[in-house]
Amino acid sequence: MTPAETRAEIERLHAAGFAWSMACCGRKRERAEDVLQTSYLKILDGRARFEGRSSFKTFLFGVIRRTAAEERRRAVLAALLPGRDGASPEPAGSAPDPVERLAFAAALARLPRRQREVLELVFSHGMTIDESADTLGIAPGSAAAHYARGKSRLARILRRRTHP
């Protein structure tokens, strides 16, 4: 894939990539932008190379997920010394959200990370279970289990909200 083709693919998937980055960063906009920028730079300067073993979308989402994980580890290390030169706290959420969307995001945030990621990939990004397993670097069987557990757990949380 030539650099121009890579750039074109990134442009095509940019909005979806940002939505996935938001999902990987707990819907913190500033962090999601940083993760997305770092991911793009990794791909464009060849630190992350697309080998063609999967679709470009799966590859891009995998890079974003790994970069978000690195950023989380960095944030944990920086939080060891709060108030020094660590990152300043940032507000969650992007724009003023409707109440229901915020409540759904809060319900989603209560799921374990793997379950949340599989649900996001399947429902938000239209991936199959196999594609989401490929993106997350886990076995398809594990992804199917995370999907089923996550869905029933999310349904329980939402039901409890509507019928406390």
């Binding site: 990134i10 442009e11 940019h14 909005a15 979806a16 940002f18 939505a19 938001m22 999902a23 819907r27 906009r29 932008e33 940083d34 997305l36 920028q37 770092t38 793009y40 730079l41 464009l44 950023e71 960095r74 944030a75 290390l77 920086a78 060891l80 010394l81 020094r84 030169d85 660590g86 990152a87 992007s94 724009a95 959200d97 229901e100 969307r101 759904f104 995001a105 989603l108 649900l119 996001e120 429902f123 938000s124 990004h125 869905k151 999310l154 349904a155 939402l158 039901r159």
Partner: protein, 130 residues
């Protein structure tokens, strides 16, 4: 809630969230052109992590050395072990029998060949001119 309803409800909610996120996506060109906002790890945190790693390595090395078989540590043998090793039975002398030393060394089965070189050979006299 039936399974189909749940599926539809989740699809709708996820789609709303995704639409909102995508609408808020930053401009790609601006995102790539801006200087990377690196979040450097504080120097003190780095030092702390290094010290923790060194301490862990030291403890692991000490545990490995102690666990090595044959390490002459003071706590390797119980205190009674020395006394038990030095103990002899009061009737041990009865076990000493004549010839018992034969069992303690390998007997020489082949007798030594005598050295004849030092012996003088007899002079032959029969038929010799005197």
């Amino acid at each position: 809630m039936k399974d189909d309803d749940l599926e539809l409800s989740l699809q709708r909610r996820f789609a709303e969230t995704r639409r909102a996120d995508e609408a808020a996506a930053p401009d790609l060109g601006a995102l790539l052109d801006r200087p990377p906002r690196t979040r450097p790890v504080p120097a003190a945190a780095r030092r702390l992590a290094l010290a923790a790693a060194l301490a862990f390595a030291a403890v692991a090395a000490a545990l490995l050395v102690r666990a090595r078989p044959g390490f002459p540590g003071s706590g390797d043998l119980p205190p009674a072990a020395g006394r038990l090793a030095a103990w002899t039975s009061p009737t041990a002398s009865l076990l000493r029998t004549p010839g018992a030393e034969l069992g303690a060394r390998v007997p020489a089965l082949v007798p030594r060949v005598p050295v004849f070189a030092s012996l003088a050979l007899p002079q032959t006299t029969k038929g010799a001119d005197r």
